[in-house]
């Protein structure tokens, strides 16, 4: 089966400093990959490079078989960014309008909203238990509620690849559990590929099937089970390998 993402020898630099060096890996349909690594390791940089938000210094990135700069079918990718702080408190957008933004990737110019789009928004809002917030302004909601709205925006187009950057930071434990179950279900039932950046190294093993550990360069990419058995990784991580593995079934 053709890879969804094919990354070959990618390096990214911020001015003089190299943020990522010689990264290569591929994402297959149906993959559930946990992106793990210390702060400043380049996880978000890697995601932004994949999404075309950052230029790459060298290497190549293919999305769904096309070079990144020629790729246009953005409806196949759903993205939940890391920061909620970008939300402008003055912006008067209501929840329904924000979720609709997730459907724009499927539309040709001039983009218009149809009744079918509103029905899709209703459905995802219902599923994420935020239907009662639809007419509320995003800026009036709590951090956790805002996170759910942005999650709905990422999910509403039913993408083939979902990319989450630290999705559980603003969620309470119940919502976090619900979130992980929901995306696991999407992964298993619909075959949606999932990339999830997380600090939750002990938790991610419950759900993700593959692990990508990055620290400026690729330290490990492969199955969780292989990671836990790997002697090379034991030598590299020491006790930390156990923390990543011990909750994994």
């Amino acid at each position: 089966m053709a890879a969804i993402i094919e990354i070959k020898n990618v390096s990214v630099s911020y001015g003089q400093s190299q943020a990522l060096k010689d990264i290569s890996f591929s994402v297959e349909p149906g993959d559930f990959i946990g992106f793990v690594g210390p702060n400043g390791a380049g996880k978000t940089t890697l995601i932004k490079a994949i999404l075309g938000l950052l230029p790459i210094a060298s290497g190549s990135i293919e999305l769904f078989g096309k070079q990144r700069n020629k790729f246009s079918n953005w409806g196949k990718i759903g993205y939940l960014p890391q920061q909620l702080s970008f939300i402008n408190v003055l912006f008067p957008a209501i929840v329904e309008e924000v979720i609709l933004l997730g459907l724009l990737s499927q539309k040709a110019w001039p983009k218009r909203v149809t009744k079918a789009d509103i029905a899709k928004v209703d459905e995802i809002a219902e599923q994420l238990r935020i239907a009662d917030l639809k007419k509320k302004m995003l800026s009036e909601l709590s951090g956790g509620q805002q996170q759910k709205v942005l999650l709905a925006r990422a999910l509403v187009s039913l993408p083939e690849l979902l990319i989450f950057d630290e999705p559980s930071t603003a969620l309470d434990p119940d919502s976090r559990e619900f979130f992980f179950k929901l995306i696991k279900e999407m992964n298993e039932k619909n075959g949606t590929a999932i990339i999830l950046i997380t600090h939750d190294t002990g938790y991610i093993g419950h759900y993700a099937e593959k692990l990508l550990y990055v620290d400026k360069e690729l330290i490990y990419f492969g199955k969780f089970s292989d990671f836990c058995k790997s002697e090379k990784m034991s030598n590299y991580f020491g006790r930390h390998q156990h923390i990543i593995c011990h909750q994994h079934d």
Binding site: F86, P92, A93, E97, L104, S105, R153
Partner: protein, 282 residues
């Protein structure tokens, strides 16, 4: 007796209003002013939320230079102002992108060049200072037929572009990075927004003058943001506030013999104050 007096006063006001609405310069001012007011409010919402409010101020200063250029060469100022202000807006974009300068500083640079150019041309010519300085405060009541036609046509162009790019503009204004991940060419959207602003500024100079253009862009949007829930509703509300301000401003300026541009801006400011108070007590 008192009843008869009240009836007499009401009749007088009615007669005055009917006469007032029959003046062709009032009809032209209402017509062109309504279009300009609406595009200013709609566009202003995007500018205010993107923290680009002062671009209107900068571009109005460019229009001052452009009008001086037109008067200097004896060309109808409107014809010179449109291309020069559009070029000025392009320059702001390019300086921001290429010259390691933030947007506000780029606006400051282009704005200063516009004003300086205008002052130098006025100094050199020594002939058209009165004409040029009349553009500082504008006068919608002296709008010509040609200006009405141009204002309405260009306003329709601006409104059509806003309508067709509404969702792209909304997404890029709400979260530019996310908009890019949905395939929206945000740099193209930014260029469209700034060009539309340039056109709108040129149209607004006739109504409120160089000094007050930014008020037309900022106040209706700022007022709507106090009370509106929903982005589309905020834009519609801003347009209504702006439209009512233009109509009331022109009416008051006629009956009270006040400068029209400043009266329109003051009406907007009163609506802003009312919206602010309403939000605090509601």
């Amino acid at each position: 007796m008192a009843g008869i007096s009240i009836l007499f006063v009401i009749n007088t006001i009615e007669m005055n209003m009917i006469n007032f609405l029959q003046y062709s310069f009032i009809q032209k001012a209402f017509f062109a002013g309504s279009f300009i007011g609406i595009i200013c409010a709609a566009l202003g919402m995007f500018l205010v939320l993107r923290k680009m409010s002062l671009i209107g101020d900068g571009l109005s200063h460019v229009s001052f230079g452009a009008i001086a250029l037109g008067l200097f060469f004896g060309v109808y100022p409107f014809y010179v102002a449109v291309p020069v202000v559009v070029a000025g807006s392009y320059l702001i974009l390019k300086i921001t992108e290429k010259a390691k300068v933030y947007g506000d500083a780029a606006i400051g640079i282009v704005s200063a060049v516009g004003i300086s150019g205008g002052i130098i041309l006025a100094g050199v010519s020594r002939g058209f200072n009165v004409d040029l300085f009349s553009y500082l405060f504008g006068n919608i009541l002296s709008i010509s037929n040609l200006e009405v036609v141009l204002s309405v046509l260009l306003s329709c162009v601006v409104l059509a572009i806003l309508y067709f790019y509404y969702w792209d503009l909304f997404s890029a204004t709400f979260d530019e990075e996310y908009a890019k991940t949905t395939g929206i060419k945000t740099s193209k959207i930014n260029t469209i927004l700034i060009f539309l602003t340039a056109l709108t500024v040129v149209l607004s100079v006739k109504m409120v003058g160089v000094m007050l253009v930014s008020a037309l862009l900022i106040l209706p949007a700022a007022c709507a943001l106090q009370i509106a829930k929903g982005f589309k509703f905020a834009i519609i509300l801003g347009c209504i506030i702006s439209l009512v301000s233009v109509l009331l401003g022109i009416t008051f300026s006629f009956f009270l013999d006040l400068p029209a541009g400043a009266t329109i801006v003051m009406m907007n400011a009163i609506f802003f104050a009312l919206a602010f108070i309403y939000k605090r007590i509601a």
